[in-house]
């Protein structure tokens, strides 16, 4: 299992570095072993946003941590790609520039993977051609309404 773990580690790292640089518009990130023995080591995330020093994940800001964790989740997804992917409000801590980069990445991947994205963010809402609105007009009972963007913006009001 040592060789298997090693090869998974290397594959994840490759994808992780690529997704990190796409989401941050540069910089590097990698998973590192906490000790040299494969069978005993834990793994930690080391990230280096563009123009900043290399630090452990905990030393990044809230939004930088979210973006880094997303890059790792997408890297793990790539190892075992599913036909579809559902994301639930992962864009909440991001500023507008990072939301745009996140959306661009999702749109790029949507060529071969189907995405369903749950969001409150107005920028993210603009990307899909089709939006489903969920309401609880009757308390406790969820219903689906088909909405266009204007409706959706009003709906969260």
């Amino acid at each position: 299992t040592r060789t298997r773990l090693k090869s998974t580690f290397e594959q994840v790292n490759e994808h992780f570095a690529a997704f990190f640089s796409e989401l941050f518009g540069g910089g590097q990130a990698t998973l590192e072993r906490t000790e040299s023995d494969w069978l005993a080591a834990g793994m930690q995330v080391i990230a280096c946003p563009p123009g900043k020093p290399r630090v452990a994940l905990a030393m990044l800001s809230g939004g930088e941590k979210t973006l880094t964790a997303l890059a790792l989740l997408f890297a793990l997804f790539e190892l075992n790609p599913a036909p579809f992917c559902m994301l639930d409000e992962v864009d909440a801590p991001l500023d507008d520039t990072n939301v745009e980069r996140f959306c661009a990445l999702v749109e790029r991947m949507a060529v071969r993977v189907q995405f369903v994205v749950i969001t409150h963010n107005k920028i993210t809402m603009e990307r899909p051609r089709r939006l489903h609105g969920v309401t609880m007009a009757e308390s406790g009972v969820s219903r689906l309404v088909s909405v266009d963007l204007d409706d959706a913006l009003a709906m969260t009001d």
């Binding site: 930690q44 979210t66 639930d88 089709r130 969820s142």
Partner: protein, 169 residues
């Protein structure tokens, strides 16, 4: 293989039969806090075989059945169906020739859980085998990133990240 629709009835707050059509490769789901958006992800997680109540944000497996509201009585059964377009034959094995695949799960307070594939009774194992190798199988499905999952990964200890890697291997 594409997911073309998610159908829910009696599942959590979706007491009324509801069909969510997925025509494009990018679909947005919006709505106020508490309206039922995350319940849709729970429904997908449940129908593909999730057996832990905690992963479904409940205390017992019966918590997926509509528990009533100020204006409605609780119901006895929850049902979810996923419809896939398999025209490209991507889903191999016994279902390779089917252009459309339907996966259903039903849970009733009296009789427990039943699965069906294309209308025929199946075991949980059969549904899981169907998705084996497609990233939807196994514990660590990165295809369903629930609310808070990003924060849990941020707070994970080195051992937990290693476990993730082993599951993905």
């Amino acid at each position: 293989m594409r997911l073309t629709a998610i159908k829910l009835a009696g599942f959590k707050s979706f007491v009324e039969p509801t069909t969510i059509e997925l025509e494009d490769n990018l679909t947005g789901v919006v709505g106020p806090n508490g309206c039922g958006k995350s319940n849709v992800i729970d429904a997908v997680r449940w129908v593909i075989g999730e057996s832990s109540a905690r992963q479904l944000r409940g205390q017992s497996l019966e918590d997926v059945i509509f528990a009533g509201s100020k204006t409605r009585k609780p119901v006895g059964r929850a049902a979810v169906e996923l419809l896939f377009d398999n025209a490209d034959g991507e889903l191999g094995g016994p279902y390779a020739d089917y252009a459309e695949i339907s996966i259903q799960r039903e849970h009733s307070r009296r009789t427990g859980s039943n699965y069906r594939i294309n209308g025929t009774r199946a075991r949980r194992r059969d549904v899981q085998d169907l998705f084996l190798g497609t990233g939807l199988g196994g514990r660590a499905s990165y295809a369903l990133i629930g609310q808070g999952a990003v924060n849990r990964l941020i707070d994970a200890k080195p051992d937990q990240i290693r476990d993730l890697l082993e599951e993905a291997a």
